[in-house]
């Protein structure tokens, strides 16, 4: 873990130079590509990704002052310090962070910088996130899609889903339903128990 963080810190220092020379967008794109993620610039259809060997083409350098619109950091080792590279992206609309093992509640509290632009956010399978971190997503006013499937550490999924729907009324929440945690009433034996209880109460 320490080595991974040092690894990230090393990359952060290097990107200071990249930022000055090429700008924030290129620096962020370089960071994501070297973590084996994907980026897409505004107005473009194709995604820049690294291949299996970790190599990526340097064509993205052509888009020097074009904002980054979509970042796919799924299954990367991105953490709180790595988000430093993404924080300057003021026009980021789509952020996918599926199955990132180091994304936790503290990282979610940093996402408030995207409050004016973020439209889609995906946190599926990030095992360190709890319902407390999900409360920090209330800043994202324009969020339309939120994917929170397979979050194992979230307790009371049904209740959390209801509270999130109240918090973000215009957002579609995928991966958690309000029926999670409720027992089904179609089971005859359970219905019988409830009937007997009602009789004894009256």
């Amino acid at each position: 873990m320490r080595r991974i963080l040092l690894h990230h810190n090393y990359y952060k220092r290097y990107y200071g130079y990249t930022k000055k020379r090429y700008g924030d967008y290129i620096a962020a794109a370089y960071y994501i590509l070297s973590q084996n993620g994907g980026v897409r610039f505004a107005g473009q259809e194709e995604w820049f990704r690294a291949d299996r060997g970790g190599k990526f083409s340097w064509d993205f350098l052509k888009f020097k002052n074009i904002p980054l619109e979509a970042v796919d950091a799924s299954e990367t080792l991105m953490n709180y310090d790595g988000l430093d590279n993404l924080v300057p992206l003021k026009e980021l609309k789509y952020l996918y962070m599926n199955h990132c093992p180091h994304i936790d509640d503290w990282c979610l509290s940093r996402l408030h910088v995207f409050q004016d632009s973020l439209v889609e956010l995906s946190l599926a399978g990030c095992t360190q996130i709890t319902e407390r971190g999900l409360a920090a997503l209330h800043h994202l006013r324009h969020l339309k899609h939120l994917d929170i499937s397979h979050l194992d550490r979230v307790a009371d999924k049904g209740l959390v889903c209801i509270l999130l729907e109240e918090m973000l009324p215009h957002c579609e929440i995928i991966g958690m339903s309000t029926e999670d945690g409720l027992t089904s009433l179609t089971d005859e034996s359970k219905l019988a128990k409830i009937r007997v209880q009602n009789v004894s109460d009256t």
């Binding site: 509640d105 503290w106 509290s109 319902e131 999900l134 920090a136 509270l163 918090m167």
Partner: protein, 509 residues
């Protein structure tokens, strides 16, 4: 050891083989009629011996093991839980501050076991300790840069808590951090101070934003913005967490690094005095603490621990501990006469339920009247409190809760600020002590000018928990490096009490 062999003869008694000899004498072939058929005492003894022989052998083996070196047995009775006779640093008080200092001392020592640290705590159940009764908030919205820096460090410490306080083969630490932010609401008269504080906070790197009443209403529709001129909202690194987990994490890590823990009460110090004269010709009494008397719980027995330094992290009772060292007793108008101005102040925290209250996005809202509340859990429960004025200070003799205080002082302001709280129901409440600094409600960190080997880390007046990692590091730096290396906390020195210079913190809750 010679007396061990004496004890061997007294303690070890092999199973009673003597009776067997007697039995064989009885059953001799020449005594046909003297053999008794009924169950005589001797025959019973014989059966007993054979029945219990296994147990007797086990006892015998245990006694032999005790006598051999490597066992805990000594011929004299040693009271369990006594502190060591000699230590380098004795920390009075086992709350989050005391354990944080112990951890940082062990972390910063250059050689393993270079310093022997003993933490003395009076109450193993922590029933009256301020740490565990705290609401557990962490914020950067202070007016002093030092406080902001300490909170920022506290946040980065808590974020990487498993790196700092993780122990091999133990479960990872979860402090249950809620990143919901603090929202300070100010009226007309408080708006300028809020803006000034905001400027200082931005300079130090805190992520805070100012909200006008319209923006506030947009963000939090459940707030009633009547009377609100300005609000300041913390975006990152602000929220609340579980203080008990932090305390246990510090304690577990410090114990694993070799800190001695002792449950006992510090009842006095043995110090030597030296009459000296300052450069102005003023006579002062220079004291040096040599022993700390630690009394065992429920007993008159005490152990004088010989020590080099004493750290006063006793929280609400630091004033009493300082008096034991003779601080505050002296000729009036001299440095000797300056007492440690820390006293316990009781504060109530009420838990209530409101069905239509603010949802997941509810921050810790602090009104300009002083009333604060925050969400607790997911089921519509909230926690609220208020610091009473000087005249209304409740008695500190016990931790009983006064529910009238809530109904008279807190509920009206709560209901006017958040209209949905009009139909709330109080579920329960608790009370805890603030280690209140009556001089300027800010921390006192550093050595005493005359009792030079007593260091203070107290007087936080309600924001000690969030400053505990930074203070622990600062005191460890003072002790081991003799000066502050990371955050300069010389503004909190004891000297300011002598000169009468207040280091006022304007944002006290």
């Amino acid at each position: 050891m010679n007396f061990a062999s004496v004890a061997v003869f007294r303690k070890i008694r092999p199973p009673d083989f003597g009776c067997m000899v007697r039995i064989t004498a009885c059953i001799s072939p020449y005594n046909n009629f003297s053999r008794s058929i009924s169950t005589s005492k001797l025959l019973c003894k014989q059966e007993d011996v054979f029945k219990d022989l296994e147990k007797e052998f086990v006892k015998f083996r245990q006694k032999v093991k005790d006598v051999l070196p490597g066992s805990n047995w000594t011929p004299f009775h040693v009271t369990p839980g006594l502190p060591p006779e000699r230590a380098d640093i004795v920390i009075v008080g086992g709350g989050v501050m005391g354990w944080s200092i112990a951890y940082w001392l062990k972390k910063k020592e250059m050689i393993r076991d270079a310093v022997r640290v003993v933490v003395v705590e009076r109450d193993p159940s922590y029933s009256r300790a301020s740490t565990v009764l705290s609401v557990g908030g962490i914020r950067q919205q202070f007016s002093m840069p030092e406080n902001i820096q300490m909170s920022l460090f506290g946040c980065s410490f808590l974020r990487n808590i498993n790196e700092h306080l993780g122990v091999v083969n133990e479960e990872p630490i979860d402090i249950q951090y809620n990143p919901c932010g603090y929202l300070f609401v100010a009226n007309e008269s408080g708006a300028t101070i809020l803006e000034e504080n905001y400027r200082i906070q931005k300079e130090e790197g805190a992520k805070v934003v100012l909200l006008t009443p319209t923006k506030l209403k947009e963000k939090f529709p459940w707030v009633n913005t009547d009377g609100v001129a300005l609000a300041s909202y913390g975006l990152e690194n602000e929220g609340w967490f579980d203080p008990w987990s932090l305390l246990n994490a510090f304690r577990r890590k410090a114990l694993s690094m070799g800190v001695y823990q002792c449950f006992g009460e510090v009842t006095g110090f043995k110090y030597s005095t030296r009459e000296m004269v300052t450069s102005d010709g003023e006579p002062v009494v220079f004291k040096r603490i040599h022993h700390v008397n630690v009394q065992m719980p429920d007993s008159k027995e005490y152990q004088p621990v010989e020590c080099a330094l004493v750290v006063n992290a006793a929280g609400a009772w630091s004033g009493k501990v300082a008096e034991m060292a003779g601080i505050g007793t002296g000729l009036p108008n001299s440095v000797d006469a300056v007492k440690l101005p820390v006293e316990p102040r009781k504060r109530f925290v009420y838990v209530f339920h409101s069905p239509d209250g603010p949802g997941l996005d509810c921050p810790l809202l602090i009104d300009y009247t002083g009333v604060y509340f925050r969400r607790e859990g997911l089921a519509g429960n909230y926690i609220a409190g208020l610091s009473p004025t000087e005249e209304e200070e409740p008695s500190i003799s016990n931790l009983e809760v006064d529910y009238n205080f809530f109904h008279e002082k807190i509920w009206p302001d709560l209901a006017s600020r958040v209209p949905t709280f009009e139909n709330l129901k109080v579920k329960s409440a608790w009370a805890g002590y603030y280690d209140y600094n009556t001089f300027d409600q800010n921390a006192i960190i550093g050595p005493h000018p005359l009792v030079n080997n007593m260091y203070f880390a107290t007087g936080f007046s309600g924001h000690g928990l969030q400053h505990s990692p930074a203070t622990g590091r600062a005191v460890a730096e003072l002790i081991l490096d003799t000066c502050f290396k990371t955050i300069d906390l010389s503004a909190f020195s004891f000297g300011r009490l002598c000169y009468g210079e207040k280091a006022l913190e304007r944002n006290i809750v």
